[in-house]
């Protein structure tokens, strides 16, 4: 049922990869010199082994052009770096970074993430970069998260009593001291080169105000996880992407294919720009039963304010997807309501975008409904219940989800002055 995840370095001899008696396939995280270049899910059957040679052929066939592309990029980059005019330039000092984890009542998950962040911090310190770690405990029921943080030296703790992810994110924004503020979900774990990837994106795009990273699965143990990842998961590809202004020349969906910008599970911002934009919209992402969409919204506002947003695959985190089908359905529902909330908000707040937003909503509805025939024929990787959940979420959202959410947000704020 599950898939065995193997992390492969393509410049090393490839080991055989196998599945145990309960697994139906392998998922390969493929790297070249540490940099992720591909992710492949390959059916294998339980208790099977794919020998290294077969694996090599598969990777050559599917990733050969990507490997050549990487070679080209490095060659162009090296040539530019060898340019005497460039070498004469003063190197930029890397920015200070705060890694913020917003969490509610999940100390075991936070512990896992924290352990990896501490490793990053220590490695960064050795290289002369500062990484501050901040845990924001959102309306906790007990002190377990506080105790966890206390047991780690040098890790900061902040409590946000108002329940809701965007309240927590704004608390992180207020408390952080780093020039860059990087959010990582509590059910995620940063990769070994996570911080390197973020700093690389910053170096190459010093004018960018937002950065999103690649998100790969931490485990593929349940059917719901396999389902989600095989549908694309949170992946946005293995190319560096720079979004500036109206990126897609004739894309009616833009900017909210903003889902294309990246995932909220692994994103970073220039703190000064985030403050200037007023932080996260607290009416979004306030958890069930309120709509999601806080990351869509912030990406949209950053780009609309004229700041480039950069997607960098090397800025990698591994995320533990929802294990139960029921939870995954809930997630799809939330995406539906979140999308509509964001759309409704844009409709109201942003006069210039109104016609676009109408088009976006129409496109989204047609897209969702269009999935149904394929699902009925059994040809859609996404099963019917997920499609319906997202569509219903959207329809409910369409009926004023954002406005209702605003009212609830005000009530929450009133309770916690």
């Amino acid at each position: 049922m599950g898939y065995a995840i193997h992390d492969l370095e393509i410049t090393d001899p490839l080991p055989p990869v196998s599945t145990d008696a309960t697994q139906s396939g392998v998922a390969l995280v493929v790297r070249r010199g540490g940099r992720p270049i591909g992710f492949l899910m390959h059916r294998l059957g339980p208790g099977q082994t794919m020998p290294g040679d077969d694996l090599a052929q598969l990777l050559a066939a599917l990733l050969g052009e990507k490997i050549v592309a990487e070679g080209l990029r490095e060659e162009l980059s090296a040539r530019a770096a060898a340019d005497p005019a460039l070498r004469a330039r003063v190197p930029m000092t890397p920015p200070s970074v705060t890694a913020a984890v917003c969490t509610k009542d999940r100390p075991a998950l936070v512990a896992r993430c924290l352990a990896a962040l501490v490793k990053q911090r220590d490695a960064a310190a050795a290289a002369g970069t500062t990484l501050e770690i901040l845990i924001v405990d959102n309306a906790p029921s007990d002190d377990r998260t506080a105790a966890l943080v206390a047991s780690h030296e040098g890790v900061r703790y902040a409590r946000e009593p108002r329940p809701g992810l965007d309240f927590a994110r704004n608390r992180a924004l207020a408390e952080a001291t780093g020039e860059l503020l990087a959010f990582i979900d509590d059910d995620a774990v940063p990769d070994q080169w996570w911080l390197d990837g973020l700093l690389e994106a910053w170096r190459e795009n010093p004018d960018a105000a937002a950065f999103t990273g690649l998100v790969l699965p931490l485990e593929l143990e349940t059917q719901a996880q396999v389902l989600f990842e095989s549908r694309g998961g949170f992946r946005r590809g293995f190319e560096k992407i720079r979004h500036a202004g109206d990126t897609r020349v004739e894309n009616a969906m833009y900017p909210a294919g903003a889902g294309n910008f990246g995932a909220g599970a692994n994103m970073a911002f220039r703190r000064d720009v985030l403050l200037a934009l007023g932080g996260f919209d607290e009416a979004l992402d306030t958890g069930a039963p309120l709509p999601g969409g806080g990351d869509l919204d912030i990406f949209f506002r950053v780009v609309r304010a004229g700041h480039p947003l950069v997607y960098e695959p090397r800025y990698l985190a591994f995320h533990q997807h929802r294990r139960e089908r029921r939870q995954l359905r809930r997630q799809y529902w939330t995406w539906g309501t979140g999308f509509m909330a964001f759309a409704e908000k844009s409709y109201g707040a942003d006069a210039g975008a109104r016609e676009r937003v109408r088009g976006i909503i129409r496109w989204w509805l047609l897209h969702q409904v269009g999935q149904i025939p394929r699902a009925m024929l059994g040809r859609n990787p996404l099963p019917m219940d997920m499609i319906v959940a997202e569509l219903l979420g959207g329809l409910v959202g369409l009926t004023g989800g954002y406005r209702r959410s605003l009212r609830r947000t005000r009530r929450i704020q009133a309770r916690h002055p």
């Binding site: 052929q57 050559a60 050969g64």
Partner: protein, 460 residues
């Protein structure tokens, strides 16, 4: 209707350092084309709001869009990929070790590309340019021809159905360019006249709305080193994208682009598509092609029922169909580049699309008539109608804004094509009689002012 802002075409030569920051002003979008030592490797389009573009992003873009062509050049075996129905992108090899050995791909590729090939175009290749009362365009084209790094054996301009002396006057300004008048209208007719006056073993064709790349002639000749190759076609890039109509043609219609990797078309290609109509239009464009003389002698010349001035177009692809049917091989060679000036005005585009469909449908019927391949009828009777029905449905729902302006014209063109074919059936036999090719004596190539050729064949 929002004001249209042009698309700027920017050529980036990867043998040179990339700019620190690439600017593009006064445009709505930019079309970047990446080259290496004058060989095109890939393209991408960017919205103007993404500019200025930092060098690191240019490097990523260049790497991403040129990787397929570079991978092909460095990793494919001697056989060029067969053009097959499925878009089999992906690597030309499954040997991972070989792929990983590609370090410094640009340096490796430069070394490969330095080998220019063995065919001497200056001795083997004649260039035929057909034109009709477009003296300014023709002059621009001939200036490009004068700048060719390797000059062909001869350059022949065929003045089709002239009403003034404008063309003759232009040709007079270019010594070394021969002038031939062909009073009977029709591109196929004019081309056939050009063939009869040419003495080269290979005859290349281009149009008056084209400017060739300086290396074009040299490169379009090389595929003929392989004796199986009867036809070579090359890459046609837009010369400018300044008007809405030009952008439409390139983006919505697809322009003439067939990609940056060389492709081989042979009997396998025909076999794969036979049932549905072999898509011979994919092989290339008449604005950039060369044909071996022996092929004309074997299968005949261009069908004079087809082409501009007759049914509308497809006189080139119908010839390629005959080549393939006779077991010959066509080769698409993207290193041979010309720049085409698409029509600037929307009325011109609408008319052109109507003419294209008329010619295309007439060609389908000619192909069926000659070879009995039912796929041509399938395409005419099933594929095209359902395609247009779908387009109409989507246009009605407000989807396909950009296609709407030409759909009705295209459909009208299809119907006109059937009518044209039916009306010209009588010409079938005479149109491609492999008339003996008159070769002028080698010591006296046709000069400007030569008398019009006595045309053989049908007088219709």
């Amino acid at each position: 209707m929002k004001r249209f802002v042009p698309t700027r075409i920017i050529d980036l030569e990867l043998a040179e350092p990339l700019p620190d920051s690439l600017e593009a002003s006064d445009c709505g979008a930019a079309w970047l084309v990446f080259w290496l030592d004058g060989v095109p490797l890939g393209q991408c389009e960017l919205s103007a709001s993404q500019f200025p573009i930092p060098r690191s992003q240019l490097e990523s873009l260049a790497a991403e869009v040129t990787a397929p062509a570079v991978a092909h050049h460095l990793l494919a075996g001697p056989d060029v990929p067969i053009a097959m129905p499925l878009d089999s992108g992906g690597t030309p090899t499954t040997d991972l070790a070989r792929v990983l050995r590609v370090e410094a791909p640009l340096a490796q590729l430069r070394a490969r590309l330095a080998d220019r090939g063995d065919v001497d175009a200056s001795r083997a290749l004649s260039l035929v340019i057909c034109t009709q009362e477009r003296p300014d365009a023709l002059a621009r084209c001939l200036r490009g021809v004068a700048a060719l790094a390797v000059r062909p054996l001869e350059v022949i301009v065929v003045d089709n159905a002239p009403t003034t002396s404008a063309t003759r006057d232009v040709v007079r300004e270019f010594p070394g360019v021969a002038y031939v008048a062909e009073p009977h209208p029709g591109l196929s007719r004019a081309r056939n006249t050009g063939v009869r006056h040419a003495s080269g073993e290979i005859i290349a064709f281009t149009d008056d709305d084209v400017v060739p790349h300086p290396d074009w002639i040299e490169r379009i000749a090389q595929p003929f080193a392989d004796p199986r190759v009867m036809v070579a076609t090359g890459l046609v890039l837009p010369a400018e994208l300044e008007t809405d109509a030009q952008r439409w043609f390139e983006k919505v219609f697809g322009g003439f682009g067939q990609g940056y990797r060389p492709l081989l078309y042979d009997a396998r290609f025909v076999g794969a598509f036979r049932g549905r109509g072999v898509p011979v239009w994919r092989i290339g464009a008449g604005a950039n092609m060369a044909v071996r003389r022996a092929a004309f002698e074997r299968i005949g010349m261009f069908d004079e029922r087809l082409g501009a001035g007759a049914s509308g177009c497809s006189e080139d692809s119908e010839l390629w169909y005959r080549v393939l049917a006779a077991g010959g091989v066509c080769r698409y060679e993207p290193r041979a580049v010309v720049h085409h000036y698409h029509r600037r005005d929307p009325e011109g585009v609408a008319r052109q699309m109507r003419a294209y469909m008329r010619g295309h449908v007439a060609a389908l019927l000619c192909q069926y008539e000659r070879h009995g391949d039912g796929g041509n009828l399938f395409r005419l009777g099933v594929s095209l109608p359902s395609y247009y029905a779908g387009l109409l449905a989507r246009a009605a729902l407000g989807g396909v804004r950009l296609r709407r302006r030409t759909i009705l014209g295209e459909i009208a063109g299809c119907i006109a094509g059937v009518a044209y074919y039916v009306g010209h059936r009588a010409d079938a036999g005479s149109a491609v009689a492999p008339a003996p090719v008159e070769r002028p004596s080698k010591s006296a190539p046709a000069r400007a002012g030569a008398a019009p050729s006595a045309s053989s064949g049908s007088t219709r």
